[in-house]
């Protein structure tokens, strides 16, 4: 299994405030990895730094290619789809237009309608609502739409920021089931940031625990889940 994403000595800043202090980790191709940690630990910042949405220093390599200095849109065009916190839905556009937008940077225009149908197969509720304004969807439906929109890029790597946030437990189950399926069937590598550690550890193979901008623990998801100390001090369950 080859390494897809390597992060070395990542430091990120919000104005004068440093949020990441030399973060290091890597992702294997085809894997599901989770980044765990408390509020404010730097999970979201890490994802934002990968897409160059904030000021950062250090080395990030995607498939051997450094991402330093690249604009967000060009990082995305390499095949890195980012589902941001708050979902980034285009609320005043229809569900179908949102899906079209997910594929807007693709050159193979004629395959897009098929991919939209595939998304409707993954998420039947989106098909029922495809002409509706995306802002009228429920939170769960909007999260499904955000994941579907990200998949329309045909990404190699998908970054998910708190996909379970604000959703009912049953819907979260559904969503994580679909993510596992997408990872399995479409070979999309997934990096998921979660506060719901229990759930994330069920989905992921590898886990990193992050605290005040540093990786403090890493291992297989099972190791992390079984370690009572980590669970109590970092994951809180």
């Amino acid at each position: 299994m080859s390494t897809m994403l390597t992060i070395k000595d990542l430091r990120a800043y919000y104005g004068q405030v440093q949020a990441l202090h030399g973060l290091e980790f890597s992702l294997n191709e085809g894997s599901v990895t989770t980044l765990l940690g408390a509020n404010g630990a730097g999970k979201t910042t890490t994802l934002r730094a990968i897409c160059n949405m904030i000021r950062s220093t250090g080395n990030i390599e995607f498939e051997g290619k450094p991402l330093t200095g690249m604009s967000t849109e060009n990082v995305v065009r390499l095949g890195i789809a980012h589902v941001p916190q708050g979902r980034g839905t285009f609320t005043n556009m229809t569900v179908e237009e949102n899906l079209q937008l997910g594929a807007i940077s693709r050159k193979d225009v004629k395959n897009i309608p098929d991919d939209i149908e595939r998304m409707y197969a993954h998420f039947p509720v989106l098909k029922q609502r495809h002409t509706q304004q995306a802002g009228t969807l429920s939170g769960g439906e909007q999260q499904m739409l955000a994941v579907a929109r990200a998949l329309m890029l045909r990404p190699r790597l998908m970054l998910l920021d708190e996909p379970s946030f604000g959703l009912a437990p049953l819907i979260v189950r559904d969503l994580f089931g679909i993510l596992a399926k997408i990872n399995r069937e479409d070979r999309v590598t997934i990096l998921v940031v979660e506060q719901n550690a229990q759930l994330a550890l069920e989905l992921a193979e590898t886990a990193y625990v992050i605290e005040t901008g540093r990786i403090v623990m890493s291992g297989t998801a099972k190791e992390i889940a079984d370690n009572e100390d980590i669970r109590k001090s970092y994951l809180g369950y």
């Binding site: 897409c51 849109e73 941001p84 980034g88 285009f90 609320t91 556009m93 009228t136």
Partner: protein
Amino acid sequence: MELFTNQVLAGIATGAIYACMALAVVMIYQAIDHLNFAQGEMAMFSTFIAWQLMQWGLGFWPAFLLTLAISFAGGIIIERALFKPLTNAPVLVHVAGFIALFAILNSVAGLTWDFTIKQFPSPFGSSGFLGSQLISTHQAGMIGVVLVLLLLLFAFFRFTRVGLAMRAAASLPESARLVGINTSWMIALGWGMASAIGAIGGMLIAPVVFLEPNMMGGVLLYGFAAAVLGGLTSPFGAVVGGFLVGVFENLVGTYIPGVGNELKLPIALALIIVVLVIKPSGLFGRKIVQRV
């Protein structure tokens, strides 16, 4: 009754031009959240270019189309050279930029083509439209061209990928970047299109107001009034606002004693103030339906 019909139709005709200017203003406002005070001067400059091309022997329509292309490129160049560097600058810096652009275009046009009034030909002529005395062929042509323009714009934003990308970039820039849209170029494209739309307005109104460097001052003011009335966030509203302002201006000028031609312009200003006080989002300003 005939006077009334006549005034309404004439109002719709000039309203078509206000709609053009309002649309141009709204396009840039959507992209960068600022009102382009130089929109009228850009249109005036484009009209001079068309005039120059015709002086050099081009027919009206070839000159018209070539002017659109030049204006489009010019709009993009203005954005890249002047406003892209100001992206994160405060409002007042933008205002200064717009005023500078206004002054530069106005002076350069005066220097190049001087300030004397010039005739600008109409491709439609000025006889009665379909033999009627109510509206001239040029006025009918103005309405027709603007309606075609609106249809094309609607189709562009509704059915093309670039149009979709532009809408996305205007409504949520960060999300747009996350789907791989180069939002910076979408803004430049918006400037190019606004510049071309303004050029259409300028070339259509020039046969009526005559060509000179200050010809667009009043027109742009009505354009602003139209944009505010329709709601600055709504291109559709800008167009409706344009037609409404055109008709309103004519009816007030005709039927309210003492207004006449001289006081029409303050009417536009009064309209802006009334709309801002009573309904700041305009008639069609964005109402976002959202469930969380």
